[in-house]
């Protein structure tokens, strides 16, 4: 029990901040993000013995969290689409009064989920395009295209640079 507990605590300490942030950008709701992370770690505790290598922990937890999110979505799907959820934080203003931070968050919140999620996985969780492709069950080419388009849309919304490259992906 002690070793299991210790291993779990190490895992939680290392992964909870990133998971919470990823969950937040998945659902854009602080309370739901917290619930998702809590449920994810609870499930992780129960099957911690199946995790062979610590290096695989991040990806394992992301997969659990995504499944939890999908489960939550399916519960609500009968009544409302995810981007119409009232709990969605359209202000994208969680923490900090920095204008640039708020501008970027607003722009990020405007991306459609198909563009926002791979970008969040890459920027917050440090996932490679290969990892993202496997987790989202997409081809690596599709992930590259989505990441490219996501950044192009952000550049446009934030008024950064020229528009070169919008048509290439």
């Amino acid at each position: 029990m002690g070793a299991h507990q210790h291993r779990f605590e190490m895992l939680a300490r290392a992964q909870v901040p990133g998971l919470y942030r990823y969950a937040y950008w998945l659902c854009r709701d602080r309370a739901l993000a917290e619930d998702l992370v809590q449920e994810t770690l609870l499930r992780a505790w129960r099957s911690l013995d199946s995790l062979r290598e610590e290096a695989a922990a991040r990806r394992w937890l992301i997969t659990i969290l995504r499944n939890e999110f999908m489960r939550e979505l399916s519960k609500r799907r009968d009544t409302v689409a995810i981007d119409e959820l009232p709990i969605v934080d359209t202000r994208a203003s969680v923490g900090g009064a920095d204008t640039d931070v708020q501008d970027v968050r607003r722009a990020m919140a405007k991306l459609t989920p198909e563009y926002r999620e791979p970008l969040a996985l890459q920027v917050i969780m440090g996932c490679s395009t290969q990892e993202i492709a496997e987790m989202l069950e997409l081809t690596q080419g599709t992930v590259l295209t989505r990441l490219h388009r996501a950044r192009n849309q952000l550049r446009e919304m934030l008024g950064v640079g020229d528009k070169f490259g919008e048509e290439i992906a």
């Binding site: 919470y20 942030r21 309370a31 505790w45 709990i87 931070v101």
Partner: protein, 240 residues
């Protein structure tokens, strides 16, 4: 022979992974000022992104998760120990209750309400140029998510959101008042025994008991809160 990297290749690769550039892309940028500038711009954008996406993690979340998982998955043999721990917590709870009789909880709550409203992350809720929310079903769904039921409709609402407040999901509303925005917090399961005035940090108003919870009506302008208090607490409008 290695593939010739074109400007198009650079834009495509840098747009997808600006921090993991292939050697060919790096080489190309050494002789192409335009692509080099493009890559620099994307790296700068990613730095902004990284900062912006790092939303604050709720305080104590890791500890709560570890405790929750430990308790929920504890083996049978641990249960007597957990029962003892629960008894200790109960004793602490009783002591806290006694302390709170001497130090009215309402004052703490008033400070917490003001702290929540004045928090920079909530500042946008009070922006004077916020448009009215005309979709009544949106407001109902916000309330539903916090377990709040309302009879009738609310008018002049410019902001409706579920917030975590003292570990509870609460409804954070802002309505147009006579002299500016007025914040209404519907606080299920957070009870006050009597009307509790709020007067600090430039905010004034009242927290009133409502069912098993309470309602805070607070503003930082000259709008009188009493008429709103009467309207909100009339005939069991809210189930908290």
């Amino acid at each position: 022979m290695s593939k010739v990297v074109t400007c198009l290749d650079v834009r495509r690769q840098a747009g997808a992974e600006p921090r993991r550039l292939e050697p060919g892309v790096v080489e190309h940028c050494k002789s192409c000022a335009s692509c080099a500038a493009f890559v620099r711009e994307l790296v700068a954008l990613d730095a902004r992104l990284e900062r912006a996406l790092a939303v604050p993690v709720p305080e104590g979340l890791e500890a709560r998760i570890v405790l929750d998982a430990t308790l929920k998955n504890a083996p049978r043999a641990w249960r007597p120990w957990l029962a003892a721990a629960a008894s200790a917590l109960m004793a602490i709870g009783l002591a806290t209750t006694a302390w709170r009789h001497q130090h009215p909880v309402g004052e703490d709550l008033a400070s917490a309400v003001v702290a929540h409203i004045a928090n920079p992350e909530e500042a946008e809720a009070l922006a004077p140029d916020r448009a009215l929310i005309h979709d009544a079903s949106y407001i109902e769904q916000v309330m539903g998510h916090a377990g709040v039921h309302m009879q009738g409709a609310m008018e002049d609402v410019t902001y409706a959101h579920v917030c975590l407040f003292r570990g509870q999901r609460v409804v954070h509303l802002v309505v147009h008042g006579d002299h500016g925005p007025v914040t209404i917090l519907l606080l299920p399961r957070i009870h006050v025994d009597q009307d509790t005035p709020v007067d600090e940090g430039g905010f004034h108003g009242v927290i009133v008991p409502e069912g098993r919870g309470s309602i805070a009506i607070v503003t930082n302008n000259a709008t009188p809160v009493e008429p709103m208090e009467r309207e909100l607490t009339s005939s069991g409008r809210f189930t908290l």
